[in-house]
Amino acid sequence: MRVALFATCFNDTMWPSTPKAVVTLLERLGCAVEFPRAQTCCGQMFTNTGYATESVPLVRSFVETFTPYDAVVVPSGSCTGSVREQHAALARRVGDAGLERAVSELAPRVHELSEFVVDVLGVTEVGAYFPHRVTYHPTCHSLRMIRVGDRPLRLLRAVRGIDLVSLPAAEECCGFGGTFVMKNPDVSVAMGSDKARHVRETGAEVLVAGDNSCLAHVGGLLSRHRAGVRTLHLAEVLAATEDAPWRPGDGVDHEVGS
């Protein structure tokens, strides 16, 4: 099985520790992963802001880049959703039947990280060790667009040393919403403040989710409030082991060592 990592542009540029953790995790699970360098962006931000025309070349590029692979792993619920739920409609919109067909053939092979680990690799106990108090926010597109269900929680529950506490009103949106943060900043902050409040109610030291975009928003609020709660992508929790534990950095782990 040839497995490709679609890091997503946001992770590649802003949160490299996440795709790096995916590589660590998958290799530990015996799965060789490739990073096709032609990959860029799935186009979600353009599509969801109304720039469908701008997205189409990105759909084409995604299909060309990833069609050779048996499986594509994505450490993001919303980017997975963009590929699986929106690419076909974008191809249809410009009347490109060939592209639509190619998208439809590829889309079922595109998996969000927890789906890939649980469904494709058939593993829930990934050998992770994370001795911290954690709460999990199921991001909207994971939950209601691609329907990952409780897969992330099953993976987290199996982590050794973890103190997993449930988040009140977990299924409510955090208020990120892509360009919504810019277009409706007041509502976005109102929603994010409530999410941050619920996170603090849990007493967790780490907020975990499958999307760094939502985490950047909630984490940005928590950081501004000096709340003393860090955010971390699911992949980074699952990558940590007793031998190579996750190390608390200076607030944001942006050092990507070799």
Binding site: A4, A7, C9, D12, T13, M14, W15, P16, P19, K20, F35, P36, R37, A38, G43, M45, F46, T47, N48, T49, G50, Y51, T53, E54, P57, S61, P68, Q86, C140, L143, R144, M145, E171, E172, C173, G175, G177, G178, F180, V181, M182, K183, N184, P185, D186, V187, V189, A190, M191, G192, H217, G220, S223, R224, D250, V252, H254, E255, V256, S258
Partner: protein, 521 residues
């Protein structure tokens, strides 16, 4: 009611005021949480809820695909049962029809020096067309008889919810409105009125009773119109509707043309879906159904032909609905049965309330229906498709499976295309330029990697300037929308792909050798 939604600002501006209103936030948070919990409980007890939703969507889609046939069938059955059917292309035509009929039936009052009046059943269609204002302009008073509508009308307020138009008010505010305003509209509120719900309801009951008994004309909407028999259906909770539908001699019902269901069997699906989704009840307390008139001279040779009042009029209103129908993607919005479940689960609605949506249809469905029914040219209409995080809670709650997030994206695309069209005024917006530049960059991995260098450079500089703090505080310009309330991470000094290129040099899928590393000290 003299206030209207005309001239409302774009959504983000109205929302800014709304989220700062502590009383509004408290009232809405409490009310929506209560209805959400009730709905969740009664939906979870239905074993085949998902099948029921699918069935509801299927029936409505069938109606929309054969709307012409079913409308003519409805007209025929209504006429056979002694009702008079009127067709209205828009709000003005519909209002003129109702004003004319109501004016004729209340002429005796006018001649006797009494103010002509009609009693009203809560109806979204009549609010949509601004009927109360049209009647008022013709010198006819329209009395709302639904409790929440009464609160809105007495308070010279605007509705903020489809089901509970006064959801933004708490009971203390309601008491004040009753005490202050009831006397001007009829029987005053008792001097010792408290804010106990039972006392408030009693005051409203006494105030409304004299209007029910006096009125010669009632105006209603309809939740459903059954084509096979010409039967109109109103579901309600308070019994005020039943009073209006049965006491006055004349009943005028304003019905949007999408309210059809083909058969009674189809109706059964919606009578299960609607109360559970709307009030969170298994069944609503009052369901009124009437078919034509019970008896009228010249109809049915004196034999009863139906079971409605003596004089029954049905106004079938388009008012933008055929425009929605013409939109292949958007037409599913016409499945809407106005249950308001999407409002109650919407995190944006919960914090902003209904007024910011600038029409009688607020919340997610309003953000979709508004621009489609009223056109996409106004600043408010163009802002509505963006009044959502696309979180998807609305779709999950919708009893007829309207893909609201997909429709919002569809409408956003139309807004962007509208500005892109030749002849569109002004220069491209900064956003459009940024999006175009961004997409151009992403369309080629080489260009993208060069752009990433700017980010890693910022990371290196930021690291020095911020002494390794890792986050950035307030930033100027458009970035302030983010940084006014949130810290931002300092960009990393190395991208993932730079790390990969250094550690995995043998990847066969690499289009080119690694050349984009470093370059900045």
């Amino acid at each position: 009611m003299s206030r209207t939604f005309v001239g409302m600002p774009a959504f983000p501006l109205a929302a800014r005021t709304a989220v700062a209103d502590a009383q509004l936030r408290r009232n809405l948070g409490h009310a929506t949480a209560t209805i959400r919990a009730k709905r969740a409980a009664v939906v979870s007890e239905v074993q085949d809820w998902e099948a029921l939703r699918a069935r509801g969507a299927e029936v409505k889609d069938r109606v929309l695909a054969n709307l012409d046939t079913y409308l003519l069938e409805l007209e025929q059955r209504l006429t056979e049962a002694g009702a008079t059917v009127h067709w209205a292309r828009d709000a003005d035509e519909a209002n003129a029809i109702v004003v004319t009929i109501a004016g004729e039936r209340t002429a005796a009052d006018r001649e006797a020096g009494r103010a002509p009046e009609v009693v009203k059943v809560k109806s979204m269609a009549t609010q949509e067309i601004g009927l109360n204002e049209a009647l008022e302009a013709a010198g006819i008073r329209a009395w709302e008889t639904d409790l929440a509508e009464l609160i809105v009308q007495l308070g010279d307020d605007l509705p903020s919810h489809i089901l509970v138009p006064a959801i933004h008010r708490n009971r203390a505010e309601v008491r004040d409105i009753f005490r202050r305003e009831m006397g001007r509209a009829g029987r005053p509120a008792p001097e010792d009125l408290t804010d106990e719900p039972a006392r408030l309801a009693e005051a409203a009951r006494l105030h409304l009773r004299e209007k029910f008994l006096r009125a010669k004309v009632a105006v209603s909407g309809a939740n459903f119109a059954v084509a096979e028999t010409g039967t109109l259906v109103v579901v309600e909770s308070e019994g005020n509707g039943r009073m209006c539908l049965t006491l006055p001699d004349t009943l005028i019902t304003v019905v949007g043309i999408e309210k059809l269901v083909p058969t009674w069997e189809d109706l059964a699906v919606f009578l299960q879906l609607l109360p559970r989704s709307s009030t969170g009840e298994r069944m609503n307390p009052y369901t009124s159904m009437w078919t034509g008139v019970h008896a009228r001279e010249g109809v049915g040779d004196g034999e009863p032909v139906g079971d409605g009042p003596q004089d029954v009029h049905v106004v079938l209103v388009d008012n933008g609905r055929t425009d929605v129908l013409a939109d292949v993607v958007g037409r599913q919005a016409l499945r809407c049965i106005r249950c308001s479940a999407c409002l109650n689960v919407c995190p944006v609605y919960e914090r902003v309330g209904g007024h910011a949506y600038g029409s009688v249809y607020p919340g997610p469905i309003g953000a979709v229906l508004g621009p489609m029914m009223r056109g996409r040219r106004g600043a408010l209409e163009q802002s509505l498709p963006y009044a959502s995080t696309l979180c998807g809670a609305c779709f999950d709650a919708c009893p007829v499976r309207i893909e609201i997030p997909e429709l919002l994206v569809h409408l956003r695309t139309q807004v962007v295309e509208h500005h892109r069209a030749p002849g569109s005024r002004g220069l491209p917006k900064p956003e459009a330029l940024a999006m175009r530049a961004g997409a151009w960059t992403f369309a080629d991995a080489g260009r993208y990697e060069k752009a990433q260098n700017a980010s890693t450079l910022a990371g290196r500089l930021g690291d020095r300037l911020l002494h390794g703090r890792g986050t950035v505080g307030r930033m100027p310009g458009p970035l302030s929308a983010w940084s006014d309330a949130r810290d931002a991470p300092v960009p990393p000094k190395q991208t993932f792909r730079q790390w990969w290129a250094r550690t995995h040099t043998d990847t066969p899928a690499d289009p080119r050798p690694d050349t984009h590393e470093g370059g900045v000290p």
